[in-house]
Symmetry: C2
Subunit: 300 residues, 2 copies
């Protein structure tokens, strides 16, 4: 399974970066191969200063070895060996009318002393963070997520959509990071569903990513915007930074386990503003976004 899934994310990284580069038309992804001293490594691909994408990364990694101490406590296990691989992406567009997007699909294995698998699971998801709300875009994104889920179980979309809303919540601001999407974790072998079934589900979701995001980019990337709208985007990007550095388990986990810092923090936006006690004008489009972020919306 680990080879099957690692082959899949390599191929998916190629597919995604090649499509995004085609859309951008100006900037190209820069590739950095890196090795983890304790075992494994990754292939980081970053795009910067594009016509459409101001900054973005589409990274894969496959790491293995003894499970770090901090993860033993996190998972409630002793000294075991592990393998983990996944694809992580974040895209920060230039145009404030185009939403930021994040996605991650990952697979994890733990072994006993004889090297037999004692636990294995999939996790992941994707979520959309608009600066200006186009309800049509949020509906489209969720519809594609739901269609991928529905091909596997009619219960999945409702469950994983709700988990996404719960996870991407800036508790200290009491607001959502964006309009959500899917979030799932610990997808293990259960009665009636084996690891291959979960593989089929997770890869179906991964395959749907470009369908979920690209039409939104194409429809919004050439819209006109003002300096004030760009300021609003940079202020909202500050909330993205706050979520990633204060709350995001993946980021904090990476920072505390000696991960490759530049690959982890590629998720941070290129230009960000913090203003003291900033509130948009009543009745403005900026305020309309904030109202939608106050509580989760059923988009489909």
């Amino acid at each position: 399974m680990k080879e099957q899934f690692y082959t899949y994310i390599q191929e998916l990284q190629d597919r995604i970066t090649s499509k995004l580069q085609e859309i951008d038309g100006v900037a190209e992804f820069r590739e950095d191969l890196w090795e983890r001293p304790e075992g494994g490594g990754g292939r980081t691909r970053v795009i910067e200063n594009g016509k459409v994408f101001e900054k973005g990364g589409v990274n894969i990694s496959a790491v293995h070895g003894p499970l770090p101490k901090s993860m033993q406590a996190y998972f409630g296990v002793g000294e075991v060996d592990f393998f983990a691989c996944g694809l992580s992406l974040v895209l920060h567009p230039v145009n404030p009318m185009v939403p930021t997007v994040h996605a991650n699909w990952r697979y994890f294995e733990m072994y006993d002393k004889e090297g037999s698998i004692v636990d294995q699971w999939f996790g992941g998801g994707q979520d959309l963070t608009p600066y200006y709300l186009f309800e049509k875009d949020a509906r489209h994104f969720h519809q594609v997520c739901k269609a991928a889920c529905d091909r596997h179980d009619p219960e999945f979309y409702g469950e994983y959509k709700a988990r996404c809303d719960g996870y991407f919540w800036n508790t200290h601001r009491n607001e959502a990071r964006g309009v959500g999407g899917l979030f799932f974790d610990y997808l293990r072998k259960i009665e009636g569903r084996n690891m291959q079934d979960w593989y089929d589900f997770v890869t179906d979701v991964g395959n749907s990513f470009l369908d979920a995001y690209v039409p939104i980019v194409l429809e919004r990337k050439d819209l006109k915007y003002s300096r004030e709208e760009r300021d609003w985007q940079e202020i909202r990007r500050g909330r993205y930074v706050e979520f990633n550095l204060v709350h995001d388990k993946g980021t904090l986990f990476g920072l505390r386990t000696n991960g490759r810092i530049e690959s982890i923090l590629m998720s941070l936006p290129p230009k960000v503003q913090w203003r003291y006690d900033y509130h948009p004008k009543p009745g403005s489009r900026e305020e309309a976004l904030l109202n939608v972020l106050k509580k989760p919306v059923e988009w489909v």
Copy 2:
């Protein structure tokens, strides 16, 4: 003691904001009074878009009531009442040749059920974060810190300077936030030193703040700088954000105990950049700064 120290920080806030406003010459501090639902409140003063100070806050607060659950665990005590007051300041200058500065001086009391004080202590410090290194400035800042310490104990400067270097360390980058200063905490009654002695020490340090920082501002505020130097300042400000959101105990404590968010996050810089895997040119002034941040320097 609590009234004595709260009176002191009110007066110190007036003195500091009035001096900074005079130096800026354009922007004025905006004052926000706020109340904490569980008891107490604060007086936040923020300056933005000045000629010298792009963003800064000089805040005081005095809060009391039952010690929040998360703090009980942190201090290893049960259900007790507490009182805490302090002054916190962060200044982000426009000109990249002027360093950012942070300071905090605070006093804490805990009570038994009869309302008698069972524990009390002072804490605080100040540190300097340059974007371009002028060794003269770092030496001056430390000399003023040392003089204030030396008036009370010849051991203090060495001890509190080392603690500052240890605290303001971005572990995930393996570099210092800046060139340090002083950091002290849990200054309790001990043999030969009562709370009034600690009060005298902490207020002496507080009184020295303007002497430590203002001459640096006056000497550097009118230096010419380029767009590239300003970019470097914004990139380095990203490290400041990373420290405050990932490592700073005061910030995380505030975010997790329902503090006033805008007063806590006034410390975040106004404009910030994150570039992927950015390294300054070999031999440049930017690289010279990084070299100094690799390990603590004895400035005096």
